[in-house]
Amino acid sequence: MTRASPLGSAGLALLPIALLAALVAAVVASRPERTLNRGAPPVEDVSFQRVLLHAGGIELHVVNNGPDPIRIAQVTVDEAYWTFEQEPAGALRHLERARIRIPYPWVQGEAHEVKLVTSTGLTLGHTIEVAVETPRPGLRELALFALVGLYVGVIPVALGLLWYPVLGRLPRGALDFAIALTVGLLLFLLVESLREGLEAASEVASSYQGVALLSFAALFGYLAIEAFGAWLRKGRARVSTHVTVALLVSVGIGLHNFAEGLAIGAAFALGRATLGTLLIVGFTLHNTTEGLAIVAPLARERARLALLALLGLVAGGPTIPGAWLGGFLFSSVLAVASLGAGAGAIAQVVVQILRSSVGERAVADYLRSGAVAGGLLAGAGVMYLTGMIVG
């Protein structure tokens, strides 16, 4: 075979694309849907992106999640037709968004069922489980979200860091146990993140392909932490391996907590919120274990207080911007992506910890030791039990 000129190669490469474009044009022009689904009603589906409750009524942000245009003919709230304004008005094309304002006198603390009735009579419903006024972005609300982020993210992690002095005095076997314990914690967190991510993925508009998004966000999270670790080791030779691992654990947990912060905001954005002091306490206990995971790799180091504070901030801090973002600009797509990235990051962190902890030993021998196996189980067990308090 003779070698083609570069120009010829480019032409050959473009040929299939040109043919594909011609095929698409032919299909669109022939309108096969007219013969394929004769008389079948259009497929209608919307997803509710946000539900806001204000003194003036209920505001819905919806997106047409179906392939066909949707015309919203009427709106019912709690089985009553109600006045509404749609913006923009008219039919919604595939993936087009609209705001619907309904001047409905909703009741604080009670449930409401909103239904969109399309021109074909299909009803698309959303339940507001507990009606509470949606916070508007303002200094006061920013401060409130920051306080919550501090309470469920930063403080528990900081408390966990206080185990650091104790860890330093542990004999080798006990340290193995402690590190394995943190691996157990992280594995539990990983499973939880994936489960939450899958659940969130099922809620996003199907056009956004939640599960694929989650999977590739996880892969991205994993690779990003891997690259970050490599960069730390190369560029900053004076940072010890243990500090590097601790920092990576912080970043991984930070990503995870960012996703959790989004979920807090989401709870508000979708009008799902109820009171629970006990739940907050349980949650604080649950998150305190994250601090332990960060300091365990540092047991044989002499870490300065500033470093510990930095690690705590990196791990817990993202809860606050997460909560802001979730509360004011909630996007279920962003929630899926960040849960996925968090899960990937945690997986990478687990690998990092194991690598540095195993050292010269054979992996099988390491895992087989009573301290390690016990630590793994204990870590998962602690998460399971504190999770039960929360639930």
Binding site: G57, T123, E133, P135, Y151, A266, L270, L279, I280
Partner: protein, 349 residues
């Protein structure tokens, strides 16, 4: 429960409220959980009369205000009416009343912008109202031009072969059948398709009113036909729309005009499917009830009447004052899903 689910329940503001309340409790030494009452309440600026459908239906094909006061195709212009209705005197002084009814598949607008794939008699829901005098002969040519088998089953005295209900009485698409019987007894009746499945054939729109006047007649009155119906638009076995005469909240925007002091007679028929009963309530007034209209003596004086599926009653009253009088189902759910309207009473002749 997982952490995310907890977050769903938790909610940031309430979490803060909890924290603050806990702190307050710690300060004052008082124990006890934070309550809803501690929350600032939203003061509502939502308009209280924002209930109701949005927009107006197109009344070119079917106008509920016209249906209200039409029978025997009186809504058709003179040159079109004979194609559907003819009356011929008989030797004994009664009339032969001949009708042509066509079953047609038709999309109808039951609330503004909301289209229902109906099965209809003559393209409308409810079907055209028949009205005869006791003893008249009724003859109906029924032509099934729809996509499914249908019948017309009348309430009233008739021989079994005219019942339109048994398997051999089903009229297949493209076929026709001649129903013939005497108008008997005097009263307020109905007709509907009796092909199976019954629920679907009825709720899709195949029903109408059959009025038989007593030989001696009833006192002159402003007469109104009201059919209480419902529509299951998403086919889940529940009605999404309720109405009198099909269009949700129609008479909220187009009140039924009546004159103060005139006798008003309402022919009220319940053909609602899925819900066992429906009801009629009139504000600020009372009315006399003639159940099934078979007696000229009233047996009830009330402001709310309940009717079972297929049950009907004649109501009579006089408006005392000019102004707006609301009427609706006293099942609040039905009222807010479309079955609500207004009378507008005006003075003078």
């Amino acid at each position: 429960m997982t952490r995310r689910e907890v977050f769903k329940l938790l909610g940031a503001g309430t979490a803060v409220a909890g924290v603050v309340a806990a702190a307050r409790a710690a300060r004052t030494g008082a124990a006890g959980p934070a309550r809803w009452a501690d929350e600032p309440r939203a003061s509502h600026t939502a308009h209280p009369h924002a209930m109701g459908v949005v927009g107006r239906v197109n009344t070119d094909a079917y106008d509920p205000a016209v249906f209200l006061r039409s029978w025997n195709f009186s809504h058709l212009p003179d040159h079109l009416r004979p194609a559907h209705y003819r009356e011929t005197p008989r030797p004994d002084g009664t009339l032969l009343r001949e009708y042509v009814f066509d079953a047609l598949d038709r999309e109808i607008e039951i609330a503004p912008g909301l289209y229902f794939p109906a099965w209809t008699f003559n393209g409308q829901v409810p079907g055209p109202t028949l009205r005869a005098r006791e003893g008249d002969r009724i003859r109906i040519l029924f032509r099934n031009q729809a996509s499914h088998p249908h019948t017309i089953h009348f309430h009233g005295w008739h021989p079994p072969e005219m019942d339109g209900s048994l398997p051999d009485q089903i009229v297949e698409p493209g076929k026709e059948f001649l129903y013939e019987f005497d108008a008997d007894p005097a009263g307020l009746h109905l007709y509907h398709c009796h092909a199976v499945p019954l629920k679907r054939h009825i709720h899709k729109g195949l029903y109408g009113v059959f009025i038989v006047d007593p030989r001696e007649g009833r006192p002159p009155a402003d007469e109104l036909v009201m059919v209480m119906n419902g529509f299951d638009t998403n086919f889940d076995g529940e009605n999404e729309v309720y109405a009198v005469n099909t269009v949700a909240h129609f008479h909220m925007h187009e009140p039924v005009r009546v004159r103060v002091g005139d006798l008003v007679r309402i022919y009220l028929v319940n053909v609602t499917e899925f819900d066992p009963i429906n009801s009629f309530h009139l504000h600020g007034m009372f009315f006399h009830v003639y159940r099934t209209g078979t007696s000229l003596r009233t047996e009830e004086y009330t402001d709310t009447i309940m009717l079972c599926q297929g049950e009907r009653a004649i109501l009579e009253t006089r408006f005392r004052w000019p102004g707006s009088f609301m009427f609706h189902a006293h099942q609040s759910e039905f009222a807010e899903l479309g079955w609500m309207g207004l009378f507008e009473a005006v003075e003078g002749r």
